[in-house]
């Protein structure tokens, strides 16, 4: 295995938690629900995934537990929003602080203890394919599924009837309702699905990429994922490009650590200026529908946020 190939494998492996988190949040925001609790959700699901794994001695049960908890948190945000019309941003923000601090309290007895690892799944024959084989077919379940999740979620969102329904609820719930779509049910379903993916992302941290648990184990990754969702223009493929780009920067920072002190400390902050820049570019490009821009750039920066993102839907009775 060449050095280049090994680096690619490292980047893809390291990026798997953010892929889950970014795609989960993308689905949730596409249906109109901002899950601002992501920073806290990743933290607590990383802890629960690891704790359950250590207790049951099975990483797979750990992943399921994380997914369920992530889904439950998203469900809570949606239900509170539906029932009491409390702003999604407010609930998400409070949950961010609450879940983060809860994780550091509940996780005290799990700090830096050993536990079982995920198995490497080697698919015979396919893993022998040059280059792609070792990446896709000779890895653990989380990395493998993170790779497959990208095209599947893109196809689902943009090429299926269900995906169109989902996006129409996020863009204009009133007209979706007029077409006979049950807005609340759709939002509930997909926001929860998004939450499950975010939860699995949390497990991918503590069971794989950053094995184990320590206080504030996934600190800042939730905010980074939130920034990358926007950088990706609410598109799973563009979002994933953002995640892998960030992964590449992380590897670079590791290699450059001896040369430039401090770069690794500034690195987690890089996605944010990029996010702001993207939002500004999206706005400029959308002003004249990208006319006059090269096609590649148009594909890269066009696409606005879902129009009813974060807005509480109140059905007119």
């Amino acid at each position: 295995m060449g050095h280049f190939e090994a680096t690619i494998i490292t980047i893809i492996t390291m990026s798997s938690p953010l892929i889950f988190a970014v795609i989960g949040e993308t689905i949730s925001e596409r249906v109109g629900i901002v899950n601002l609790s992501m920073e806290g959700t990743l933290m607590i699901t990383a802890l629960i995934g690891f704790a359950v794994t250590v207790t049951t001695n099975s990483p797979y049960i750990g992943i399921i537990a994380s997914g369920l908890l992530g889904g439950g948190i998203a469900l809570f945000i949606v239900l509170i929003n539906f029932r009491f019309h409390i702003n999604q941003i407010a609930i998400g923000f409070i949950l961010t602080i609450l879940l983060w601090k809860l994780s550091s309290y509940l996780g005290q007895s799990y700090v830096r203890i050993p536990g079982p690892y995920l198995d490497i799944i080697t698919i015979p024959y396919l893993s022998k394919i040059p280059f792609f084989g070792p990446i896709i077919f000779d890895n653990n379940i989380l990395t493998i599924s993170s790779i497959f999740l990208i095209p599947i979620s893109w196809y689902f969102l943009f090429k299926t009837q269900l995906g169109i329904t989902l996006r129409s609820v996020g863009e204009n719930p009133e007209s979706a309702d007029a077409r006979g779509i049950n807005v609340r049910k759709t939002r509930l379903l997909y926001a929860t699905l998004g939450g499950i993916l975010i939860g699995i992302g949390g497990a991918a941290f503590s069971l794989h990429v950053k094995y184990g648990w320590s206080e504030s184990h996934t600190v800042n990754y939730g905010w980074i994922a939130l920034a990358i969702v926007i950088f990706g223009g609410w598109n799973p493929i563009r979002g994933s490009i953002g995640v892998y780009g960030f992964g590449t920067l992380q590897i670079l920072a590791l290699k450059l650590q001896s040369v430039t002190i401090g770069f690794s400390q500034i690195l987690p902050l890089i996605p944010f200026p990029l996010m702001i820049l993207t939002l500004v570019l999206i706005q400029i490009a959308n002003k004249n529908n990208g006319i006059g821009l090269p096609k590649l750039i148009r594909i890269l920066i066009l696409g606005n946020q879902p129009q009813s993102l974060g807005i509480t839907y109140k059905k007119n009775v």
């Binding site: 019309h85 609450l98 401090g262 902050l269």
Partner: protein, 346 residues
């Protein structure tokens, strides 16, 4: 609803929220009443502790007051954390310059800190009004930009003699420290600043046309546009005012608590200010009261660690559960129903 009924309703909401916090603490296998007693003693047990509580109250109240201005204009100023950080950077800039040795250095530092925070607020408003970037994402971006800048300054241009560590810059010259009064370090100046800003903002919101237009923009920016009120302009004012007030909070952190610039100089008080403002809504005087309670929990929380050996996360858990319970109780109208039931039966 009369004023008394309203106060009564608030008391009921507080009671319900405290009960929920107590239940959560039980669920976490902590003993709530021991915690409450320790918190109380830790915040008010002696004059030193009381001074500390008042100092933190003034800082939290400033961030809370800043957020009432943006809330009034209908804005989510999550960039407050960055505005606090920028305030600290601005104050540090003054303290490290030749001005830092003047006897009025703290005043200049705090004013310049306010200006720096206001600058970041202005950036938020430009992103929002010119580029249609939602203030949450713009604000978060600027928060991280500000913390990146601090890390850069602390390990780069402003590093300590010979050592580049994230431990902070050199201490400021003592002339730029905000002086405290008496043996107990009573934070008289931060409190005076807090009260002055409270009065100014109260006057602004209730007695000036700027305040009125700001609130009108928050209620319905489409309608105000029809009255020829340029809502972008008032969004900018709201962000700048909030930035200045947040910046002052940051400069007090730098000149009165740390006496140097450290990476986490905001202490998270910007984000905690959002929790405070979620309860207070658009009510400035509530901010002072809630800040006092929350600051007591933060300061008293130190004793939870020292005396009961509890995790440092408890003050945050108590506060966030309280705010969540408060919002849900309010939104569910349970407090209103209980208040009405009791009043009508009498």
């Amino acid at each position: 609803m009369s004023m008394y009924q309203n106060i009564f309703k608030n008391i009921i909401t507080v009671l319900i929220s405290v009960i929920i916090v107590t239940i959560v603490l039980f669920a976490l296998q902590a003993s709530p009443f021991e915690i409450y007693a320790t918190l109380f003693d830790g915040a008010f047990g002696n004059l030193d502790k009381l001074s500390r509580t008042m100092l933190i109250t003034s800082i939290m109240a400033l961030t809370g007051l800043a957020l009432v201005i943006t809330f009034s204009a209908g804005l989510w100023n999550i960039g407050i954390e960055g505005q606090v950080l920028f305030g600290a950077i601005g104050a540090t800039f003054i303290a490290r310059s030749f001005l830092g040795n003047l006897f009025i250095a703290p005043i200049i530092a705090i004013i310049f800190g306010g200006i720096s925070g206001g600058f970041l607020g202005l950036l938020s408003s430009i992103l929002k009004t010119k580029f249609n970037v939602h203030e949450i994402f713009g604000g978060l971006g600027l928060d991280f930009l500000a913390s990146g800048l601090i890390v850069y300054l602390v390990i780069g241009p402003w590093k300590r003699e010979g050592i580049a560590s994230t431990g902070g810059t050199d201490l400021f010259p003592e002339a730029s420290w905000v002086p405290n009064i008496g043996n107990y370090n009573f934070p008289i100046f931060p409190i005076l600043i807090m009260l002055t800003i409270f009065i100014l903002l109260y006057f602004l919101l209730n007695r000036t046309s700027l305040g009125l237009k700001l609130i009108a923009t928050g209620l319905n920016s489409n309608a105000t546009e029809k009255f020829k009120i340029n809502s972008s302009e008032y969004i900018a004012y709201a962000f700048i005012i909030a930035g200045v007030v947040g910046g002052i909070a940051g400069s007090i952190q730098a000149t009165s608590i740390y006496h140097k610039l450290v990476p986490n100089i905001s202490g998270g008080y910007g984000f905690l200010g959002i929790l405070i403002a979620l309860i207070a809504g658009k009510n400035l005087s509530s901010i002072l009261l809630i800040s006092f309670v929350f600051a007591s929990i933060m300061v008293g929380g130190v004793q939870l660690q020292l005396r009961l050996g509890m995790d440092s996360s408890f003050p945050y858990i108590i506060e966030s559960v309280f705010v969540l319970a408060w919002l849900i109780t309010r939104a569910s109208n349970i407090d209103y129903k209980i208040a009405n039931y009791i009043f009508l039966r009498r």
